[in-house]
């Protein structure tokens, strides 16, 4: 597949799909490795919701691409046959798992962002985007509740759980600036979401006696297709079957 040049919103739809898919792929590594059975099931159910959201965005992106570029893309070709530089996910989604604290802090930061985003996109003039946002937000609300409770439980828990939570925040916070950086292809001004997001994070951190880091360097690039070294490894695992046996189906 050649490098893609898509009109305005297509890249943004792909970005939304890619972030959901890549975090889902990361979270799925917990499957059968969760700290306890119930939480193993919880994180994999959240993962399934994210895959569902990714599918909806990919299906829509495929229809946009096919109608404007006369191609024959599907949700599967978009997920399995694009290269690293063509993926537009947020960097925070591709970072390797560290421990349970890292996973729940990332889920909380990301789902709280998705919550604000979907709230705004519910009012979008594009009917398909509006529908996906309306569908997704009900699930995302659950993800926020679940992850916020875990952040509080760990942050305000034992010495060790607190230590791990602090480490997770330190590692992940520099990747949250990218949530609010706009690309020319974005269908809305994401910087407008920052205040509500930060209020939510601050409240939960306060409850967990954690503090919000201030004025630190923020990474970006994912939305432009410039990734950390970790994405290539995810894709080589996720895309292996389609690369090895092109067109395989079951």
């Amino acid at each position: 597949m050649s490098t893609m040049h898509f009109s305005k919103n297509i890249n943004n739809v792909l970005h939304l799909a890619d972030s959901a898919l890549i975090l889902a792929q990361r979270n799925s590594e917990w499957c059968a490795h969760g700290p306890i059975l119930e939480q193993d099931i919880a994180i994999t159910n959240i993962t399934l919701d994210l895959i569902g959201q990714a599918r909806n965005f990919y299906q829509y992106a495929a229809s946009l691409i096919n109608s404007t570029n006369q191609k024959n893309e599907t949700e599967d070709t978009l997920a399995y046959l694009r290269t690293e530089r063509e993926f537009l996910n947020l960097l925070i989604c591709e970072l390797p798992n560290v421990d349970w604290a890292h996973t729940v802090v990332r889920q909380f930061l990301f789902s709280s962002f998705q919550q604000q985003l979907f709230l705004a996109l519910q009012e979008n003039t594009d009917d398909a985007i509006q529908a996906i946002a309306t569908k997704s937000i009900k699930e995302t609300n659950y993800h926020v509740k679940w992850s916020a409770e875990w952040v509080i439980r760990l942050g305000d828990g034992t010495l060790e759980s607190r230590e791990r939570t602090l480490n997770a925040i330190e590692a992940l916070w520099p990747y949250t600036g990218e949530f609010f950086t706009n690309e020319p292809t974005d269908m809305m001004d994401v910087s407008l979401l920052k205040k509500a997001w930060l209020d939510k994070i601050t409240n939960v951190f306060l409850e967990a006696s954690l503090s919000v880091p201030e004025n630190i360097f923020m990474h970006s690039g994912g939305k432009k297709g410039v990734h950390t070294e970790h994405l290539g490894f995810i894709l080589s695992e996720m895309q292996y079957l389609q690369r090895m046996y092109p067109g395989a189906q079951w």
């Binding site: 919880a42 399934l48 699930e139």
Partner: protein, 162 residues
């Protein structure tokens, strides 16, 4: 044979959710419309974005209709308005309870997501006690959470209000 919408709906009543086979797709409230066009269009909506049962349900619908001689059909999906447990029929809720799954309680619009707040008064499907407590927000599928009964001590699935 003239095919009517009622005829199709009667056949769809026999198509069940593969995860919860006591519920028909009509009980579940995921059939949004039947359009008597050519091909006949059955419009369904997913319960959750990632519900893995949707593809199986679409195939089952086509199969059931084909068995009844209605072969020219197409399944389409809508997301908006988003499915809610409010669309589950009362009969469906009774069937769920009899099957061992506590049905959703209350209206989806009333769901609040206050932290550490759990829905109370979920009735144990086994002994009908409402002295029950939440074990996990997520059960065997996205649409269910896991509860336990403090009286008969049995764990059970609860179909979340959504």
């Amino acid at each position: 044979m003239t095919i009517t919408k009622e005829h199709i709906l009667r056949l769809l009543e026999e198509v069940c959710d593969p995860e919860i086979p006591v519920l028909s797709i009509l009980d579940l409230g995921i059939v949004r419309d039947v359009v008597l066009s050519n091909p006949i269009e059955i419009i369904i909506t997913p319960t959750y974005s990632g519900c893995p049962a949707m593809d199986a349900i679409a195939i089952d619908i086509k199969l059931r209709l084909a068995e009844a001689g209605i072969k020219n059909t197409t399944i389409s999906y809508v997301l908006n308005p988003a499915w809610t447990t409010d669309w589950m029929s009362e009969r469906g809720k009774e069937k769920l309870l009899a099957y061992g799954i506590a049905p959703p309680v209350g209206l989806a619009s009333r769901v609040n997501n206050l932290l550490f707040e759990e829905q109370t008064h979920i009735v144990c499907p086994l002994c009908k006690s409402n002295n029950t407590e939440l074990i996990s927000e997520f059960g065997s599928t996205s649409c269910k959470s896991l509860y336990k009964c403090n009286d008969c001590k049995e764990p059970f699935d609860h179909f979340k209000c959504h």
